[in-house]
Symmetry: C2
DNA sequence: GCTAAGTGGAAGCTCGCCCTCCGCTTGTCT
DNA sequence: AGACAAGCGGAGGGCGAGCTTCCACTTAGC
């Protein structure tokens, strides 16, 4: 692969991560191309369609997203930290992982989803067990919160997230 | 106005309220028409464009939305009650009041927006003063929460709203 | 220098939605 | 009952946003 091609490929991937973080997983391809200072043609030669681009992004970001859980004990504290970190730093990757995009033949994508779902389940179970998280909050709810913040970032002010998370702790009457 | 025309007009308005509550203020006109068991033609004869329809809805629902504040004292308790009530029962009207729709020549619409904004400001000020609401939560934030729940109802599970509101009360360490 | 790889962006296409139009139906009045 | 204005439905033309292709031009690499 020629050096300039490689450079453009990288530029496209990071532009895509940015744009997806801002606009959600259905951001126009043209916006991504322009952000990368590249014509749409270039984008399409490198990634035959949106799904391929998202898959490449998943491959790129999966590790750092999952590493962010750290090695600490499972529980509400860790989980909460991860949620806040992800919304702050991992929006692009999350948007990809959680977007409503049909995905069956995109292996990396499927894997990322499964791993996130599994880890989320485990953390929620631990949080419930230790009593750090209200019983009425499910892993599904959290995944929807993550999705709302990452796929539709304009809909809720991000400084309200900590308050929502506060509200998820058991009431202290 | 002929009797059947009147009937259809009413059907359209309530279908619109439903659909807007479900899909947001940009719901396709055709969806509204179908829900009302009416052709698009009928819809358009009665309301020359989407703006006119929304304006009529605003006229229809403004009072009940504002009445829901009740006569009680201003403060967090009242405000919170209103927010929950509105999201539960007033989504259609709210979606209209808060949607990002240019609106300058739709008097009823403008009036509704202003009255809601004013009441919200007053309630938030009172809530801050009595110490029922964290200082970092502004009237704008609340209006954005209302908008998220009413204009994009699919993005957040509605049973999380009470938790978010819990989190808005001052922390009790 | 030569050439194959790479590039940008105009152009064509699809799709979803907006709104108009007109032949048919129906309420209303005599 | 009959006439006729009012009302109706939904096919269809138009439009804009976004996807994808294509090809004349540029450039890295030998």
């Amino acid at each position: 692969m020629r050096a300039d091609a490689q450079r453009n490929r990288d530029r496209i991937l990071s532009a895509a991560a940015e744009v997806v973080a801002e606009l959600g997983a259905e951001a126009p391809m043209e916006t991504i191309a322009r952000r990368a200072n590249v014509g749409v043609g270039t984008l399409y030669r490198r990634f035959p369609d949106r799904a391929a681009l998202l898959d490449a992004l998943a491959r790129e970001h999966a590790e750092c997203l999952l590493d962010a859980f750290g090695q600490g004990p499972r529980g509400w504290k860790t989980l909460r930290g991860w949620i806040e970190w992800s919304v702050e730093h991992g929006r692009g990757a999350l948007a990809i992982a959680l977007a409503d995009v049909p995905v069956d033949d995109l292996p990396e994508f499927v894997r990322l989803r499964e791993r996130i779902a599994a880890e989320l389940d485990a953390q929620v179970a631990a949080a419930h067990a230790e009593g750090g998280l209200r019983a009425e909050v499910s892993a599904d709810d959290l995944s929807q919160v993550l999705k709302a913040y990452s796929c539709h970032p304009m809909t809720l002010p991000s400084h309200l997230l900590p308050l929502l998370l506060d509200g998820m702790a058991p009431p202290t009457p």
